[in-house]
C-alpha cells in the first residue's frame, strides 16, 4: 500500500522521512490494519496516551512502515471508564505484547484472550495505571509478588527448566521457561519486563532540550540510534535543519555503534560455540574501536554525543586520520577472522541449522532489522527510506536467507564491511562547517517522529510536545519488541545447550524492550 490510498484523511507528520498521520474511528482502526497487512506493511510500534485532559479520551496509536513512507494511525477512545480498542495482534502478532504493555501502563484493554500482565510484576497495584496523568509517577509501592501463569506443557517425560531473571553471565535479566523432553525444547516462554524503569512517565519530567539524554539510556548499546531518533523528531517539529557536518558525524557515530556491537556479537558467538579464540580477538578489535571513539568523539560509549541541533564534539583532523588507519586494520582483521570462522568445521557445525527462523514464519510474525535480514526479509531504513546523510551513500542491503545462527553471523560480517565503507565515505566528504545550530522551543501539542536504523533494526521515537518547552508524551520503541517472540519459534526442536548460542545470535535488548 502507498499513502495515496489514504489521501483524503491523512495529514503530514513531522519526521526525518516521509510520514503521515491518519485519525480513525474504532471500526476503521481494525480495517486500516487489515488493509495495511494485506499490502505488506510492517508494524513499527504501538503506544497509548492519556489525553483525557485535552481530548476527553485515551488515544491508541500504531506506526506502520509502508513501501514509500511511514503512517501513524490514531484512534481516540472516548469511553473513559472502561477504555478498550480492537486488538490488531491477529494481523500483526508482534502487537500482542505491546498491547499488554499499554494495558499495564494505561488501563486500556483489547478483546484479546491473553490478558496477563506484561510490564507489571506486582511492583505497583493492579488498580494503578502509572502513565495516566492523574497518577503520581514518583509514588513508591511495596512489592506484592504475584505468580505468573506460564502456559504449561503436559505429557510423558515433559519437564520444565526455569532460567532467570538473574542469568549466569554479564547480561540483562529476563526469565525463560523451557518445556523439554530430554534435551529437546518443546516450548519456550519468555517473561520480560524486569528492567522496566518507567521511562515513558519519566519523559514527562524532561524538557524538550534535555530529552535526548533519557532517550540515549533506553538501551545503552543503541544510544546513538535512540538519541538521534529523539533529536530527529524534535528537529522535525521545530523545523530545524542540522549543519551537514553534524549530520555526517551522527551517521559516523551510528556506524561505529553498529561496528562495536557486531564485533562484540561475532566474538560472543564464537565463544558460545566453544571457540574462545573468537571472543579474544573480536573483543580486542572492539576495544580498539572504543578507544578510538574516546579520541574522536570524547567518549567510549556515545550516550551524550547526539544533541538537539547537532553533535557535542567536533572531529579533529588528527582523529580523522586515526580513524582511517583503524578502519584499514579492522577490515583486514575482520576479513582474516571471517576466513577462520568460515573454515572452522566445529564452529560451522554449531552455527548451521541452529535456531532456524524460516522466512515465512519471520514474515508472518513481523521480524524486523538484522534478524529479519538473516531470514530473507530485505528491510533496512538506510536503504528503503534513506534519511540524510544516507540518501547520498547508497547503502547496500545485506540479506541472507538461511535464517539460522550461521546466517545471522554472515549478516553481521557483511554489515561490518559495509559499515566500514560508509565510515570511509563519510570521512572523505566531511563538510567543513559548524557542528551545532540553535534549537528553538516548540509550541505545545505537536507530534513528530524520528526513525533510525540502529544496529538491531528500526529505533523509533514518537515525541509530543508540552507547554513551556516540556514533553507531553514520548514513546521510545526498540526493535527487540518485534524480535523477542521470534526466539520462541527459532528454538523449537533445538536442544537446551544451544539456547545461549541462539539467544546470542539474536542479541536483543531487555532494557530497550522493558522501558
Amino acid at each position: 500500500m502507498s499513502t495515496d490510498m489514504m489521501e483524503p484523511q491523512r495529514t503530514r507528520l513531522p519526521a526525518n522521512m516521509p510520514s503521515s498521520r491518519l485519525r480513525v474511528d474504532r471500526e476503521q482502526w481494525l480495517r486500516t490494519a487489515e488493509d495495511l497487512r494485506e499490502s505488506g506493511a510492517r508494524l513499527l510500534t504501538l503506544w497509548g496516551t492519556d489525553d483525557r485532559d485535552r481530548d476527553s479520551g485515551f488515544r491508541i496509536a500504531a506506526a506502520y512502515l509502508l513501501t514509500d513512507s511511514v503512517v501513524v494511525v490514531e484512534h481516540l477512545i472516548k469511553e473513559t471508564s472502561a477504555p478498550s480498542y480492537p486488538s490488531i495482534a491477529g494481523l500483526f502478532p508482534a502487537a500482542l505484547r505491546m498491547q499488554r504493555a499499554v494495558h499495564d501502563l494505561l488501563g486500556i484493554s483489547t478483546d484479546e484472550v491473553d490478558t496477563r500482565n506484561w510490564l507489571r510484576h506486582g511492583g505497583w497495584p493492579e488498580t494503578v495505571f502509572p502513565l495516566r496523568r492523574d497518577v503520581d509517577g514518583n509514588r513508591q509501592y511495596p512489592i506484592v509478588s504475584e505468580p505468573y501463569p506460564y502456559v504449561e506443557v503436559e505429557g510423558d517425560g515433559v519437564h520444565e527448566i526455569s532460567v532467570g531473571p538473574v542469568h549466569a553471565g554479564t547480561i540483562e535479566p529476563g526469565n525463560f521457561r523451557f518445556s523439554v523432553v530430554g534435551e529437546k525444547v518443546l516450548r519456550l516462554e519468555e517473561r520480560l519486563g524486569y528492567t522496566h524503569k518507567g521511562i515513558a512517565k519519566l519523559f514527562e519530567n524532561f524538557s524538550q532540550e534535555a530529552g535526548h539524554s533519557l532517550a540515549a539510556r533506553v538501551s545503552g548499546d543503541s544510544a546513538v540510534a535512540f538519541s538521534w531518533a529523539y533529536c530527529s523528531a524534535l528537529e522535525a517539529i521545530t523545523g530545524i535543519t542540522c549543519p551537514m557536518r553534524a549530520v555526517a558525524l551522527r551517521a559516523l557515530a551510528l556506524e561505529h555503534e553498529r561496528l562495536a556491537n557486531h564485533m562484540g556479537d561475532l566474538g560472543g558467538l564464537g565463544n558460545d560455540a566453544g571457540f574462545a579464540f573468537g571472543l579474544t580477538h573480536f573483543s580486542r578489535l572492539k576495544e580498539d574501536l572504543l578507544r578510538a571513539n574516546s579520541v574522536a568523539f570524547g567518549a567510549r560509549y556515545l550516550l551524550d554525543y547526539v544533541i538537539p541541533g547537532g553533535v557535542a564534539v567536533d572531529l579533529t583532523a588528527d582523529a580523522s586520520r586515526l580513524l582511517l588507519e583503524l578502519y584499514d586494520t579492522l577490515e583486514s582483521s575482520v576479513t582474516n577472522m571471517r576466513a577462520i570462522y568460515d573454515n572452522h568445521a566445529g564452529l560451522q557445525d554449531r552455527f548451521r541449522e541452529a535456531g532456524r527462523l524460516e522466512q515465512n514464519t519471520a514474515e508472518k510474525l513481523g521480524a524486523i532489522g538484522l534478524i529479519g535480514r538473516a531470514s530473507g526479509i530485505a528491510c533496512d531504513l538506510r536503504v528503503d527510506h534513506p534519511w540524510s546523510p544516507y540518501n547520498s551513500l547508497a547503502v547496500k542491503m545485506i540479506v541472507q536467507t538461511g535464517g539460522d545462527v550461521a546466517a545471522r553471523v554472515q549478516v553481521r560480517f557483511d554489515e561490518v564491511v559495509e559499515s566500514l565503507r560508509l565510515c570511509r565515505a563519510l570521512l572523505a566528504e566531511l563538510p567543513i562547517e559548524a557542528i551545532q545550530t540553535p534549537v528553538s522551543i516548540a509550541a505545545a501539542n505537536l507530534l513528530g517522529i524520528g526513525l533510525i536504523e540502529g544496529w538491531r533494526g528500526p529505533v523509533m521515537i514518537a515525541l509530543e510536545t508540552g507547554p513551556d518547552g516540556g514533553i507531553r508524551r514520548c514513546h521510545a520503541h526498540d526493535p527487540s519488541w518485534q524480535n523477542w517472540p521470534l526466539i520462541d519459534y527459532a528454538i523449537l526442536g533445538n536442544i537446551v545447550p544451544d539456547f545461549p548460542l541462539i539467544n546470542k545470535s539474536f542479541n536483543l535488548s531487555y532494557s530497550g524492550h522493558d522501558g
Binding site: L119, H121, G123, W124, V128, P130, V135, G137, N138, R139, Q140, Y141, I143, S145, P165, V166, A168, G169, T170, I171, E172, P173, G193, Y194, T195, H196, K197, G198, I199, K201, L202, L214, R217, V218, S219, G220, D221, A223, G264, F277, T280, H281, S283, R284, K286, E287, L290, R300, Y301, L303, N336, M337, A339, I340, N343, H344, S509, Y510, S511, D514
Partner: protein
Amino acid sequence: MFNTLSRMLHTGLLTEPLPVPNEAIPALETLQKDVLGILGRALCIRHVDAGSCNGCELEIQALTNPYYNLEGAGIKFVASPRHADLLLVTGPVSVNMEEALKRTYDAMPDPKLVIALGDCGACGGVFAKSYASRGSVASVIPVNNTIAGCPPSPAAILGCILQTVRSSAVEA
C-alpha cells in the same frame, strides 16, 4: 588451523599493566596477597543487572578482553552468587528486580563485598526513584563502594575493585 595459529602469533600479548599502584590501589603482588589473605582464593565476582540500560554491562564485559586481562590478576566472574565474594550491581534497582537482587545478595557467603557500578547504581542516575525504580543500589542492599560514570570505563571499574579489596584488607 594455520590461520588461527598465525593470527595468535602475529597478535602477540596485548595485556596492559594494572592501574598504577598507589595508596588506594595496590601492586599486583600486594593485591594477590590481600585477596588470598581475605578470601583464601581468587577473587570471584558475580554481576547482577538490577535494571541497567545495558551500557555498564558492555564495560564489565570489556574487563575480560586481552587488554585488561582481569583473570590474569586472579579475579574472575562466576555464574552463581554462592561462589562469589564480590557482587557487582548495575542499574537503578527496578521494582521488578528488587526481590531477585535481595535473593542474590542473601545467597552469597560471608564475607561479602558489594560495589554499585555506574551513576545509576551509585545514585539512581537519570532514572532516580519512581513507581518503577528504587533508585540507588544502597537503598536496597548494603554497599561497600560505588563507581561513578555513565558508563564507567573498564580502567575505572578495575581500579574500584582493587581499592575495595584493599580497604577491606585494611579493615580486616
